[in-house]
Point group: C2
């Protein structure tokens, strides 16, 4: 990493949005997107600890209280872990829509952790960075799982094995895999999307889910598109959560009709993802989904077509 | 397949025992063993349909009623499917202990289906044979899943995706994988082992289970023994079923202490399997488990050390 003499004064980091769950992988699968993403700048400042937090691109809705801001909590995690008494200022530039189901809290937290680590030169390993990011995401979304933070940090398709710390297993994806994303002008509160699931599931749905999760890994590792299509289905969360997203079934079906291999809720929604072979198919799926949201429930939406982000969070600038 | 002129008069088939579930794969994973196994002879006979059923090696406990015998039901499935009006006699030679959790009903049914198909020259494909075998197993054990029948039929480590028909996905295993089996002198009734599970499971246990199922597939496909060890654990069935097998925890722990990579209930038990690297480790694990059953609960047991059966059911003899 090229840098001048003397300590760093500021670091700017990009961390990508991510699609979690991916059908059968509730709380365990996540996939990093090329875009959108959040940026976080961490600067050395007078004093000790986090002395300032600012946020832009959020319409004034993300808290700037360091005790409630995902990026700041992650930075504090790095400070605590390294015993640093440095003073830092934090600037968050939101690129990921709020409450969209694209891992925005996780991306801010990951960017904060990576930036703080670089600024302090603390050299934390990936697992430690993930733990710091999870501190931030936990407050932001109530989540205690790393299926957004892990791909945002490491890139690619990640299996997260629950545990303390969680273990990340990188999985390959077929080279022509593209993701179509449609984000409708509605919001789903992550906490509510979790509480409506309840604490138990039917055993039969569980068997379907772990069969599909196992089959999806085999499909990814063999680039077997038929197996991917067969297995990227959610027997557990999506059937319950779909009612929080008006038009969900029609939008998903429009993606499949346009040639998508699989489609479903991104995280807790309302964003819907479609996995496609090649850019043209992904563009067709995105337009189909956007049109279905408009025609079925009269809701406008933003679309993104993205390849897989293979590297995860990255430092954009340092000085 | 070498055979003389004229129609076959009899076919003898071997179908191997299998370990199902394998920790995290309740109802979806199965592994075929080199031994033990069941043999079924199907012979042309006067009349139409199943005219005789005999069973040996079972201490007189397997029903010979064609409506209740797993092999006979599978043979009848082949007769029905092919529209044959042939008359056949069936001889079942049990090599797999009854109610052992080693897929004995499934093996008899698989052997019956394969033998009948060969005898009639009907050339059913693997999926059709699996469906015929499942007819037999369903009556025998109440099971409506193919995690024993599929590996007994096809060999190797198999992922069974539930469905009608179920889909079989063959998974590789590391070349040095060996299985230690200890079958204690006690029985667990398969139906009871299923009913005590209830109809629902905690969502949290489900997340652990599908994470582990996904991780185990990655571990098998990469021959990553650490990942296999990390993931071959049952969060759902084994914690409940263990109480049906006195000494379970101590026996499992003795396998791990002897160097096994993972250990758990084979199917619904009481047989306990251990996955090991190499024959010596498997022998040590088998002796350790057998000793623990003796020391902890004063129960004698049979041990088997087996490699993976890569081919599944096979024709031994025809005339």
């Amino acid at each position: 990493m090229p840098r001048g003499d003397g300590p760093l004064r500021s670091v700017r980091v990009f961390a990508p949005a991510s699609v979690s769950n991916l059908g059968c992988g509730f709380d365990i699968f996540g996939l990093a997107l090329e875009r959108p993403g959040d940026e976080v700048v961490v600067r050395m400042a007078e004093g000790s600890g986090i002395v300032a937090v600012s946020v832009s691109g959020d319409g004034g809705r993300v808290p700037t209280d360091p005790e409630r801001n995902a990026a700041a909590l992650a930075v504090q995690g790095v400070l605590d872990r390294t015993g640093s008494e440095a003073g830092v200022g934090i600037e968050v530039r939101k690129g990921i829509p709020l409450a969209s189901g694209l891992g925005g809290s996780a991306a801010s937290a990951v960017a904060g952790a990576v930036a703080a680590d670089a600024l302090l030169g603390s050299g934390l390993d990936r697992t430690a960075l993930l733990e710091c990011a999870m501190i931030g995401e936990r407050k932001g979304s109530g989540a205690d799982h790393a299926d957004n933070a892990a791909p945002s940090l490491a890139g690619g398709f990640v299996l997260v094995l629950p545990g303390r710390p969680p273990e990340m297993v990188a999985l390959p994806t077929p080279g022509d895999l593209m993701v179509a994303i449609v984000h409708p002008a509605m919001e789903v509160e992550t906490r509510r999307a979790r509480t409506i699931l309840g604490d138990t599931i039917p055993l039969e749905a569980g068997v379907e889910q772990w069969g599909n999760a196992a089959g999806l890994v085999a499909g990814l590792m063999r680039s077997d598109w038929d197996l991917i299509a067969r297995c990227m289905r959610d027997a557990v969360a999506e059937p319950v959560r779909a009612r929080l997203v008006p038009g969900f079934e029609q939008v998903r079906d429009s993606a499949l009709a346009a040639g998508a291999v699989a489609a479903g809720l991104s995280g807790s929604g309302p964003t819907i993802f479609a996995i496609c072979r090649g850019r043209k198919a992904a563009e067709a799926a995105a337009l189909g989904m956007s049109g279905a949201f408009r025609d079925e429930v009269d809701v406008e939406s933003d679309i993104v077509v993205s390849s897989v982000n293979p590297e995860g969070a990255r430092i954009l600038e340092w000085s």
